[in-house]
Symmetry: D2
Subunit: 336 residues, 4 copies
């Protein structure tokens, strides 16, 4: 790959600029934002960044082989399609788009054009989640029974979408990566307190049909910031706390409790609610987005598929769209 264009230089765009400059070199990254002053300010911070004044120029330029779309979610589909039609490989900010049909169209378009379509499911590229995947896929947890994810904080960070589209893509893409399969149905409930019809808190429930459940709590009104995921297994369980500076991943060796059911065993459980050791594997401190950039560049060069490809984006959008419909239907079950 020669050059990449970053579309959208608002909150996330500059991070893409920084990482692609590190991977491709300072002068291999071009940038565009409708707000020119904002673009100019980013260019000052990242010398070498070349700015273009309109999108068509960028997409028409034969020296730009790929683009990254970091604009509001509602615009992802239109921009990604335009880029693919212009013959560019595309990295799209999460969520890939906001309707499953759009995702299917983008996948088909990328296939026909022979271009790379990747979605920035950043957490899937984090050392901690990679470690979770290793632990789950090697059967160290036994059978996974539930994943309970809490992603709450104070502050409404997206003007155009609700809390589900803003925060839940992380949890749903992590679950998709760890479990390697899709839920059979989704139910969700939410509430909008600060802006009408824009949910600022929501609960998603993914049912996999065989007892496995994934539950996600996303919230913009929480007084405290939490980023924690419980993974309950038949043999071991995990607590993943992304805010913990050192022990991000903790493995609990605590299957024993579930054996005995007599009164004594019961009292024992009440007193000592954990037998077995706790183990916290070392997790490297590296920026996930750097790995996203590296994989995208490599896939563009070698024509291979990224882990977070269009299909992964589609699977996540499908779940989020179903959750959105369920919320509007007061928690009605949506089959996938």
């Amino acid at each position: 790959m020669e050059r990449i264009g970053i579309i959208g230089l608002g909150y996330w765009g500059p991070n893409l600029v920084r990482n692609f400059q590190a991977v491709l070199g300072p002068c291999a990254v071009w940038g565009y934002d409708r707000q020119r002053d904002r673009a100019a300010e980013v260019a000052r911070r990242y010398p070498g960044l070349a700015l273009v004044d309109d999108l068509d120029t960028l997409l028409a330029n034969p020296h730009v082989d790929a683009v990254a779309v970091a604009t509001p979610a509602q615009t992802h589909y239109t921009l990604a399609r335009a880029a693919l039609e212009a013959g560019k490989s595309v990295l799209v900010e999460k969520p890939l788009c906001t309707e499953a049909a759009q995702a299917e169209a983008l996948i088909e378009l990328a296939r026909r054009r022979g271009k790379v379509l990747m979605v920035d499911h950043t957490f899937v590229y984090s050392p901690a989640v990679r470690k979770l995947h290793e632990l789950v896929s090697t059967g160290q947890l036994g059978r996974v029974r539930f994943i309970d994810s809490v992603r709450i904080n104070l502050g409404q960070v997206q003007p155009d979408v609700n809390v589900v589209w803003d925060l839940a893509p992380h949890d749903v893409s992590i679950a998709d990566y760890l479990l390697g399969r899709s839920p059979q149905s989704v139910t969700a409930v939410g509430a909008a307190h600060t802006r009408c019809d824009v949910e600022d808190l929501a609960y998603l429930h993914l049912d996999y049909g065989d007892g496995l459940v994934v539950h996600v709590h996303v919230n913009w009104l929480s007084p405290v910031k939490l980023r924690s995921t419980l993974i309950g297994g038949s043999r071991r369980s995990i607590v993943y706390n992304d805010l913990e500076p050192v022990e991000q991943v903790k493995v609990y060796d605590c299957g024993v409790e579930l054996r005995a059911d007599d009164c004594e065993g019961r009292r024992q459980r009440l007193v000592d609610y954990r037998t077995g050791d706790v183990w916290s594997p070392h997790v490297a401190r590296e920026e996930p987005l750097r790995r996203v950039a590296e994989e995208f560049v490599e896939c563009c060069r070698l024509g291979c598929r990224p882990l977070a490809d269009g299909e992964a984006g589609w699977r996540v959008v499908r779940v989020l769209a179903a959750a959105q419909r369920s919320i509007k239907a007061h928690g009605a079950r949506m089959a996938l």
Copy 2:
């Protein structure tokens, strides 16, 4: 009140013995348990406790004015009814019973007999929850927007009921006390992993119709023990952590974040996700069950109504029964 009889001396019964002995004196408490060896062992630990060999003797004894029922939930209704019919005031372990109709029958029976009917909603008598009630009822939080309660640990503590009937009565009774009103509908989902059809994890969602939602996560399969409740208000919010030895209740003065909606304000929120002070009011360390015992005795003597009366028990049972039905109907919405 002269004497009280404790029916059921298993896990919770001895706590009732200890507290009623403290309130009424060591010789004012009689005890009964089907398992005589268990009863005998409790009597050794609590000198003064008089044991009776069969229930009828206890209920027939004119010197016993009241009974406390600390047996498995399924038996609460039958035993409480028998006690009321025998002219005793009754304190029933949570949940009051397992069907709303049963609760209504007990309330009516207590009314007709002019006896006290009280349910042991222990947390409603804890200093921490009393403090929460003071903060909510004096409007210090502004409008309450949501309550999110997590009560999870490792260990299946009830042989006869699922995790909903075992743990959720605490959260539902706390919400009932704090909000002073009942939800319009309940949806719930759950999963049973260790015993078929007995849910060991569940999520309850109470909808109050005007945006206010209460969410409860109860779980017997969690590697970690959590007892935390978030109360989100329009002006302030609270985190109540029952396992925290000192700062059980924390009040977050963080309404500011929700004002600005521009890009700058947005970036600010991301960096500094909390403005305002945090305040942790001192909470006394006293045993809630002691206050339950004192209030029950006082109500029996003066003929007044306890805070956790039959109606409170009924409101909680109504919600739990609806949640149970919703789980069996795969999360279908149950109107109340």
Copy 3:
């Protein structure tokens, strides 16, 4: 052993009563306290406890083979000596006494009379400290470089002694047990804020001559309660937090940092201040005092030596007395 007499039924005595009743049976424990009302109240809580009205009666009784001394520290020596001279085996509350010479006299007296002399170094019998000992003695930490112990809280719990004699016996006895050797010198500093000449905060520094140091911070004026011990080893290090409900002992596999010394390695250390895993071995929840009682009874029966014998008591008293002298000498070094 037939019977044991507990001398002193104040704060700690009742715990001895409860545990020795559990080991020897409810009627095998006699009790004495100068304050008769306090003794009577304890007897009510522990049926079977026989009270004696004066000490001589207790010591003269041939059916009482042993006594436990749970009186203020200043009186330990006189009472322990009287008991030994009366032919009783003796368990003394920590500290064994307040002067090394007293400890030597008690050891010699016990030897001549062929009686057991044990000191209640409770923590040495706790599952957590036992685990620490296992980890240290099996060389899993490599060479131990330092032990840093913090035992601080709010509240002045001893009327007769300062914070050093009240809290430091725990830390010094733990270090003595883990290291299996004595320091060459002791320096200590302290301050008295609430009562003149009675230190309510102090720092002890034990120097072992070969680089190994043990530092102890004891404090009655701390707003927070801390009970934590760092054990730094050349290969691994440990954090022992006695207030942590689950992960009391954490083993850090972090020897790597100390290798490289170049600028790069340095920057690495700043970013990732911990490589290697963290492991928290399961620690059983059992009452250390129960094991103290069991071992004392067994040693009296079999004539064997307890782990916390007179010598252990002497080693701890020697260090504490040196620390006391050092404080009064404004931190002057005291050789042992």
Copy 4:
């Protein structure tokens, strides 16, 4: 001020470059480092930074009014003196130098030349420590009784000095700022495990003569990273945890415990080791070094004295040098 020259572009220098560029503009900052490749790399990251190849050129340049010295501590004195003699105002990285006499010479030189001499006591400019100063100086703690500071982590970050000169300047300068007076004597102990004679752990004890004590634990061998300071007052106490993302400063309203001294009060304290509320004032998230740069620039322009002036640097160096001597004298008391 027109231009500033940054001497030393190693670990800390780039932070000075970034902040002075923000205050004075990108082209107003010049840089020098003996290692030219390192300097070049910093220049790439901070466009506008002008590099000079030798120190004399920098000091001789009339357009450079001030310099910041961010070299190893051992070289601070020589470089600061040369800069002052060249007629520059000087900001020196902590510690100002390594001998009190050197500090006195620099102060006198700055006075004679009429130049600003400032030391980068960064923490004194942090919002959290500013809040501590406000709380202490307005008497909200009552009489300050002790300050206990722990600054430990894994990793040896300074090649040329021991842990005392590396980490303790922070704690000593914070204490100097909060208390507004100097200790009467200093005792210190340390140990060197990884490099001979270079202490990697040390304990400093500052005695203020009237019961007030300041204790500092600095350690490069700790498995965990801690940055906490306890400030014990007669009315209130503070815990300042610099690693806490939200509640960095906690004020404990817990003077009550120290009143009663009878047995009942005593038992009470054991059960409830904290009465009173805990309050955590909001602390802004801003970079202290930015304020250091702003104040230095302002003082150079207006000729005023910075808070962290030469005298402040001298007071801290005096304590550190005394601590160093005390360590080498095995903890002997050093009067100031």
